[in-house]
Subunit: 233 residues, 2 copies
DNA sequence: CGTGCTGTTGAACTGGGTCAACCATCGTGG
DNA sequence: CCACGATGGTTGACCCAGTTCAACAGCACG
């Protein structure tokens, strides 16, 4: 099943055996095209299959009061709803960001595989712990940073995660995020996100045209954002 | 080892066998007194033992820029650094809140137990997933709510979690939190937290004297906070 | 060729921050 | 026993980062 990227990541950290890799790769899965803005899983829905991203992006979004808050972005190789394996209902909508290809594996199949291997279970557990570390980072961002570092931090995080799966080419990457998505993720208004991004551009830290984002001065950007990538793995 | 409260919670959800409960209870652990403000584990430190709370409270705190941001509160029965079992370094300070009694279990002991039981591994995995669900809730709070619902939500969350472990008596509970702690957790200034709590008091929603917090109108408070407790288990 | 979405700009407004007092409580040491 | 310094809660005045409202331009798409 999953993407080579996902297996590679498990591999890198937990050191899977040849056999274990074959077992994961052999999981029966179905691929599916997801359109921009399409809801893959709805909040409250009890998932029966796990989703993994082959290409493109997803994000988790929740309505709170009259705002919509983004809880996480997911990139190729991620399994955004792995936790539904043990805690069934989704606590947010899972939405497509740009045209995306996802695969799904039945909970029953995955559970069967994990039941047979403590080592694989630990590898998957670890994946959910990294998601949790990212969430804690978001808490720190949202609670304690001003608008400029907030947006800078989000960009740094995406760049660092995409780097890990080899989707950054010379400090730039593709991601079809609009300023609305940034606003929902950072808890800011669209207007202010616009001015903030202009400020980042004006300082010569980033270039952002359409869906291409480039880090012009990565070190300065990371410093401004107070970003250190160690929590990602 | 752990507190009966912790075992009870695992029990309630995953349904442990008599034997499994005995195995957990039999883990060698040492108890220890923690003073108010004392740092149990420091950010960056590679933990070799897991902590569980017997009585009192801990919180996770991280310095970001010139502010200090609280990432989570922990109550009796919690294992605040269970994740260090798989992702070793702490990403925040673990601090005592009021006089607290904690126990610790060696990673090696815990790992040995979990290695022998897929079922127990899943039960512990599930615990970390609930922590993650709480974190996502914090993201929503910090990103999308105004000051009044933010503070109200924090109080609702603590009340709901304490209720689960039987530490709420007739809508009131003990927690030696200062307004500074609330400010650090909600990303607000102390002064504004003070005014916000006064507003909650003035509306007749809560009473808060010293370390005793009482929900005078729980339903109204939950409505104001947009709080639903389902994510807690 | 309208309709809707994204980005952009300006102006006015406000929620919450900052600064600066002041009070009450409490543990401590002279 | 009392003066003290420290800590936590409270209040008032002023300020600013970010919001809201409104308008407009570019572009993609049916």
């Amino acid at each position: 099943m999953p993407h080579p990227k996902f297996i590679a990541r498990l591999q890198a950290i937990e050191g899977l055996s040849e056999d274990e890799r074959r077992q994961i790769a052999g999981l029966p899965s179905t691929l599916r095209q997801v359109a921009d803005g399409e809801i893959v899983l709805r909040q409250g829905e009890a998932a029966t299959r796990c989703v993994f991203i082959v290409s493109g992006f997803l994000y988790q979004s929740r309505i709170v009061g009259d705002r919509s808050q983004t809880l996480a972005f997911h990139i190729p190789g991620d399994m955004p709803c792995l936790h539904t394996l043990l805690v069934s209902p989704m606590d947010a909508d899972l939405v497509g960001l740009g045209p995306t290809i996802v695969g799904t594996v039945a909970h029953s199949q995955l559970r069967q595989l994990l039941d047979s291997s403590i080592h694989l279970t630990r590898a998957f557990w670890r994946e959910t712990l990294i998601d949790a570390a990212v969430s804690r980072q978001w808490i720190a961002r949202l609670g304690a940073q001003a608008a400029l570092p907030k947006v800078a931090h989000l960009i740094c995080e995406l760049a660092a995660r995409l780097e890990i799966v080899g989707l950054v080419k010379g400090n730039s990457f593709q991601m079809p995020m609009t300023q609305r998505h940034v606003a929902d993720a950072c808890g800011l208004s669209i207007v202010h996100v616009n001015r903030t991004i202009q400020e980042l551009r004006h300082r010569g830290l980033i270039a952002w045209d359409g869906s291409e984002i480039e880090l012009l001065q990565p070190d300065e950007l990371r410093q401004l954002a107070d970003f250190t990538p160690d929590y990602l793995g």
